[in-house]
Symmetry: C2
Subunit: 261 residues, 2 copies
């Protein structure tokens, strides 16, 4: 499940981390992959790499096994951390055959050990993000309900369609989650309505056909901005906060979308 | 003056656009250059390019003159718009000699026609952002006072130092502006204190020596998020709002930093 949006600062990392932690609390086996050279997901769960520690960079570029990079945080959440070295990855992978499938192949059969594999993407639609899309079945789009955040939506859908058509036929957008949502504002309501209208207008062959706007909107809550500074998920840092409440509800909603095994 | 921060969604575009518009209202001649392929600054001032219109892409990659691309908005604000084609620019410029100076050379003597040239950067420290840093004398860093936003600060300072040492000896950080500032929160105060402490610890040879945290903090104001949807600056859209008040105060503060001619 890829958490992707090329617009910066819309809540991808906060959502990937706290949905992962929420799903763990709902009894799921979860792997969180940090695919951003800025490594904010890794920071947000308290992972800091030493010089000999393996990161997703070593896995993708140096051929390290994913098993070497995985670590456990917050009890039972498995994380593949990132590192600033990943900044060079797109250039280093550019010449490689099947360069869009490096992540999918690295994940390989590790996927069978987990109920959910969540990937936190950087604010870009470059080669790393394409790798994320090619490696998953489902896309979740965190969206700050602002005008500028909507602007890139079309281009994001084009990219998803390209990957679905050429690399990953099972890829579909499962939903959009409104983050940092200010319910009272007209802008929030207008953007939400625009997204609904767009999704409802989907052609059956579009990869966002059947995608929904999640009922759970994540309210603005300063606890969500504070918890990364303690290297903790919202459930560790402020379990009674609105942030924890909203992300647990979203995790439930995502879990409910899974067909029963 | 480059508005730069590799962290996404911290207020670079909102600040570049509304400081530009504020300076125009203070009688300054201002050129705003949109250097983001997502073209949000262009959108925010109501510029949409037709197939024959010149953008910053044509200037940097196709050798078009900057004069062909400039247009006036909001009365007297000159803008060089961006276009999604710019996404390819870093690759296309990579092999060119003096590839970090393409923007500086394109700006050439156009700079003499303006009191201020403001550049809105994408959330990245790649070749385009390096071009911005090599083309200006001053750097303004919009910062959302959150933990994750602080994390990239060190790397941003390294990049500024590299450009100052190798490409643009006059480059200096003139200040940090706190955007989307929630004054009452402890996180906001702590991050502000961290930034102040960092700046005060500057060595005389650091390019951020003498940089300040602007007294003006930009408060969260939904009008600032709404105005781009009308293609208007905050002064056109909601001149009596807190957003307009704060950005005019910031423009005044920036103007006051200029030595008298
Ligand atoms: N619901 C919320 N309430 C308050 N703060 C939030 C909320 N969601 C996210 N934040 C904060 O807003 C900032 C941006 O969020 P986040 O880093 O998750 O976005 P992102 O899309 O991953 O950004 P990037 O594009 O840089 O990867 C962070 O400082 C985060 O702590
Ligand atoms: N003070 C504010 N109050 C309310 N909304 C704001 C404020 N400043 C910016 N915004 C909104 O927050 C979002 C992010 O701001 P903006 O686009 O200016 O950041 P950015 O750093 O340029 O992002 P990017 O990294 O994607 O270029 C936008 O939707 C913008 O309209
Ligand atoms: Mg992120
Ligand atoms: Mg911007």
């Amino acid at each position: 499940m890829a958490f992707i949006n090329q617009k910066g600062g819309v809540g991808k990392t906060t959502t990937a981390v706290n949905v992962a932690a929420g799903l763990v609390r709902l009894g799921q086996r979860v792997l969180l992959v940090d695919l951003d050279p800025q490594a904010h997901a890794s920071l947000s769960v308290g992972v800091e790499l030493g010089p000999d520690d393996a990161s997703i960079y070593d896995v993708l570029v140096r051929g390290a096994s994913l098993y070497e990079a995985v670590r456990l945080v917050d009890g039972r959440l498995a994380v593949v951390p990132s590192h600033v070295d990943l900044v060079a990855a797109e250039l280093e992978l550019a010449e490689r055959p099947r360069r869009e499938l490096v992540l999918r192949e690295a994940l390989g059969n590790l996927r069978e050990h987990y109920d959910f594999v969540l990937i936190d993407c950087a604010p870009s639609l470059g080669l790393l993000s394409v790798n994320a899309l090619a490696a998953v079945d489902e896309v979740v789009i965190p969206l700050q309900p602002h005008f500028l955040a909507l602007q890139g939506f079309g281009r994001l859908m084009e990219t998803v369609t390209l990957v679905r058509d050429n690399l990953q036929p099972r890829l579909r957008v499962c939903g959009v989650v409104l983050c940092m949502h200010e319910r009272g504002t007209r802008l929030g309501q207008e953007v939400r309505a625009d997204v609904l209208r767009f999704l409802e207008g989907a052609d059956p062959r579009d990869p966002w056909h059947g995608a929904r706007v999640f009922d759970t909107c994540i309210r603005r809550n300063v606890k969500l901005a504070e918890s990364p500074s303690f290297g903790q998920t919202i459930f560790q840092y402020a379990p009674d906060s609105h942030g924890a409440e909203d992300y647990l509800a979203l995790a439930r909603e995502i879990l409910a979308m899974r067909p029963a095994p």
